[in-house]
Amino acid sequence: MIGVVRFPGSCDEVDALKAASLVDDARILWHQETSLQGVDAVIVPGGFSYGDYLRVGAIARFSPIMGAVIELARAGGPVLGICNGFQVLCEAGLLPGALLPNQSLRFVCRQVEVEVVDAGTPFTRACEEGERLSIPVKHTSGCWFAPAEQLDRARVVLRYAPGHNPNGSLRDVAGVCNEAGNVVGLMPHPEHAVDDFEGSTDGRKLFSSLARAFV
């Protein structure tokens, strides 16, 4: 079973729930809960948790459910942060770096091409390394940055294809994972690329990777 966290201000949790439902049972986890209700994997979805007050992800990181999410992550359970979820996982110290405002200072919303750099995570193992995926981004603070001491050790999972970096992120990073590989954060939204009407179904691969991870 996959759990999708809902914070006040989340807005992509239903799409994430539907995408996760394609590969497994899935349920919403309210931010006030303190237990994961037996789920095996967690998705921290996109949106504007707690209004993005103070800094993106800064308040959500201390919500009651995050204690249980951090515990799962430390135990090696698969955790995926998408967009605001990525920001929350960085703030929680589960992923290297931080997400700064886009270099353009503008909200960007468009389809981008990303390359799979690391197919060894529970969310990318159905992909080939070097494979290109077409997935949308929509964010204002997506410029991934890591200080020098973290940068060279950071495991990059997805990179924007040449000419597709929408936010000025260091080394064109679109997604990273922790050292163990079980916690992944992405700025692009795979949950918005799972059905033909969305123009691309490439995002499905990340969810079917998870199904494979359970086997």
Binding site: L54, A58, F62, L100, N102, Q103, S104, L105, C143, Q150
Partner: protein, 112 residues
């Protein structure tokens, strides 16, 4: 105790807001402005100022990307910041001198 936390982007980190402001000023005729950085000001009343640093490190700032400076109000005097409320418009003489913030004692230092 009244405290102010001044948060600014770490040196060397891309600060697009600062860049935009820096470009906008000459467009209005304000020449000779450089190194503009845009940060945040957090004001708070605290019972135990010795915990301010921990508050900054855990929640108020992200040490990976931001530097901060804590300024605590010293005993209320005629020129203290608290007087700003009642200061007349344009009363530049009442304002703290530039650099005043930086020179005040940090928490844990000398304070009444």
């Amino acid at each position: 105790m009244r405290a102010r936390v001044l948060v600014r982007p770490k040196a060397g980190i891309l600060d697009p807001q600062g860049k935009v402001v820096e470009r906008a000023l000459p467009a209005l005729g304000f020449e000779g402005v450089r190194n503009v950085h845009v940060g945040r000001l957090i004001e708070l009343d605290v019972e135990d100022p010795s915990r301010l640093e921990e508050m900054c490190d855990r929640l108020l700032t992200n040490p990976l990307i931001e530097d901060y400076e804590v300024v605590t109000e010293t005993a209320p005097g005629p020129a203290a910041g608290g007087g700003a409320q009642g200061s007349p418009p344009g009363g530049a003489a009442d304002r703290p001198a530039p650099g005043d913030f930086a020179e005040r004692p940090a928490p844990g230092g000398v304070s009444p």
